[in-house]
């Protein structure tokens, strides 16, 4: 449909799920229970038209006084009174009986008022009882007359109607739904004691739209903000696909690790670093970001586990002045509390960060926290991770996800209950290995797509003031290297026979 025939709502995120807007002249039914946000959405539709798109509008109220509407709108930064004085908006208080009569006659004062200001949009708040009854032929006929009156004036109309929902089915507005051109449902859902708002476009004549329930919020100082549901298909960008770089490597900055990775992670790859708490995943993440900054590239860290001051302190303990890197604009660190994450909102936030900051590297700490918040059993987590991976690949970002594996010694599986190793390009396993009476740290590159790896467990150590480093396969004589053992990750390491130890010559001399 040509852009000129579409009415942009101007409501953040809504024109994305109704691509470009709504066909001009459509009658839009907005359904929802009390407090769902119908009035806010309707008023914003008219306000945006009048203030941003040079489309004056009319707001018709039956119960709320215009005085209160002016007051409440100011909370969103909408000066309706000013627009009224400029003849770009009119707010009319009336009764349903009067409105019904007005829309049935050619010389209506209401429509005359609309015509006087060149109104292109109208919002009527509280239509249900306007047409009376419920599903009767009279209801249908009355609603039809209403819509005909609006369409005669070529007004794009938003009609708010109170409706309750029962197992996804709406009660009481079937007649109106079948006549209206566009039907939008607003819901408030109980989600584990929190309430989340959702918006769903049920139908919209004359256009395609993104189906399903999308999250929305009512934001102080702004109005309605719609967050496209994370599972909704993303539009592939041909330009981005053509710019895909299959060869460039991103060094980790961790001494000894890049040799195991043949130079580093591929650009656009997804890496999971899995291991129990305390093995050094966050240390590796900080070194990864530091390396990014050293190369003049931007790095982004999103933490759900630790607040920013704690991260800065941890970085300082391994010799990384992260605060300086942040001030220089090379690193951006954000903490988001994991309680009651709304996945659509959260993804939107990450997407905006990525588009605005344009990092080459991203670290997310941690995947397991997402799992505990969103649950790993259903589809939500899996779809969210899919969307994240797709976003990072699109932007050619080498993304690293820390993942806490609960097993202290060894691992029964690479990603445990997450079962998404197929989505991941590279998997690094960090394990404690108990040898004699001490725990030593082991790292295994378990998977690396398009890159041969030997899957040998290497010993690592975290050095105060320096960070993590991967040790060589041979060690000074005082310490028996990992190569002296078999079954390191299987929780039962055993000494190899001397003649089979790597780095030990046939006569027992250690080879340096």
């Amino acid at each position: 449909m040509p852009q000129a025939d579409l009415v942009r709502t101007g409501i953040a995120g809504l024109d994305e799920i109704l691509p470009g807007g709504i066909p001009r002249g459509n009658v839009i039914l907005v359904e929802g229970t009390i407090g769902a946000g119908k009035t806010t959405l309707g008023v914003e539709f008219v306000y945006r038209g009048a203030s941003q798109f040079d489309e004056p509008g009319i707001i018709v109220l039956f119960e709320v006084s215009p005085h209160k509407l002016f007051r409440d709108a100011l909370g969103f930064g909408w000066d309706l009174e000013k627009l009224e004085k400029q003849d770009r908006l009119k707010i009319v208080f009336t009764t349903r009986d009067v409105l019904r009569q007005e829309l049935q006659q050619a010389d209506s004062v209401l429509l005359g008022e609309a015509s006087k200001i060149g109104a292109r949009r109208i919002f009527i708040d509280g239509v249900a009882r306007l047409v009376g009854g419920n599903g009767t032929p009279e209801t249908r006929s009355a609603f039809h007359v209403l819509t005909e009156g609006l369409q005669r004036e070529n007004l794009t109309a938003v009609l708010a109607v109170e409706a309750s929902f029962n197992d996804g089915n709406v009660n009481g507005t079937f007649a109106e739904e079948s006549i209206a051109d566009t039907v939008i449902r607003l819901k408030m859902e109980d989600t584990q004691r929190a309430i989340s708002r959702s918006i769903e476009v049920v139908k919209s004549r004359g256009q395609d739209f993104q189906m399903g329930r999308h999250t929305f919020r009512i934001v102080d100082g702004q109005g309605v903000q719609v967050y496209r549901r994370v599972q909704a298909p993303r539009k592939a960008s041909r330009d981005r696909a053509a710019a895909f770089d299959p060869d460039t490597r991103v060094p980790t900055g961790i001494p000894g690790l890049d040799e195991l990775l043949n130079g580093g992670y591929f650009l656009g790859s997804t890496t999971v670093v899995a291991g129990i708490s305390g093995v050094g995943k966050s240390v590796m993440a900080l070194q990864y970001l530091s390396e990014s900054a050293r190369r003049g590239e931007r790095g982004l860290m999103l933490s759900l586990d630790e607040q920013v001051p704690q991260i800065l302190r941890n970085a300082a303990s391994i010799g990384i002045q992260l605060e300086e890197l942040i001030k220089n604009g090379l690193v951006h660190v954000e903490y988001e509390p994991p309680q009651e994450i709304e996945v659509d909102v959260h993804f939107h936030h990450i997407e905006r960060l990525v588009h605005e900051f344009k990092p080459k590297r991203v670290v997310i700490d941690s995947l397991s926290t997402y799992g505990s918040t969103l649950g790993t059993g259903g589809r939500i987590f899996r779809d969210f991770f899919h969307a994240l991976v797709a976003l990072m690949k699109e932007e050619q970002i080498a993304a690293v996800y820390n993942h806490e594996n609960p097993e202290m010694l060894g691992m029964a599986s690479m990603m445990g209950e997450f079962a998404m190793s197929s989505l991941v390009d590279n998997i690094l396993l960090m394990n404690w290995v108990e040898i004699a009476d001490s725990f030593r740290l082991g790292l295994t590159v378990a998977k690396m797509r398009a890159n041969p790896v030997n899957r040998v467990t290497h010993e690592c150590e975290i050095v105060n003031g320096q960070g993590l480093r991967v040790l060589p396969r041979t060690l000074p004589a005082a310490k028996r290297p990992f190569s002296s053992y078999a079954g390191l990750v299987s929780r039962a390491p055993t000494r190899r026979p001397r003649e089979r130890e790597e780095g030990v010559s046939a006569d027992g001399d250690r080879m340096e």
């Binding site: 006084s65 215009p66 005085h67 209160k68 009224e84 004085k85 009119k90 707010i91 009319v92 208080f93 009336t94 009764t95 009067v98 409105l99 009569q101 007005e102 006659q105 010389d107 209506s108 004062v109 209401l110 005359g112 008022e113």
Partner: protein
Amino acid sequence: MNDTSRRNKKDLQRLLACIPVITGPCELDLLVFFYRHPRSILTNEQLAALVGYDTKQIAHAIEAFIGAGLLERTQTSMHAARMYVLVPEGPQLGGFKTLLDLASTRQGRHDTLELLTPGRAGPPSEINAKRRLRVVA
């Protein structure tokens, strides 16, 4: 009566003197209604029900407001509802906003009504103002 109360009453008296069309509680409450609903399409019966007076009083007050230039009325011949628009450039509106602020509290409204004595101003025909009435047939 304390100082604040005395001052408020003096202010109210001054404001009421600037808006002679407010002669009683019906005029006060109806004007407050139009201030809160500056553009409305209603029948006299609906106005009477919403504001809480009888239709005769409402009709009388509306004529006074129109005569004083505070209100515009537009009607069709097809049904009884009329559009009422409070005139933002009306001669007395600035004082009226201040009056509304003072009279918007329970005590303020009570004080204002106390000051409104019967016969404060004459009927609309004695008020020297232009009538603005448009009939759209």
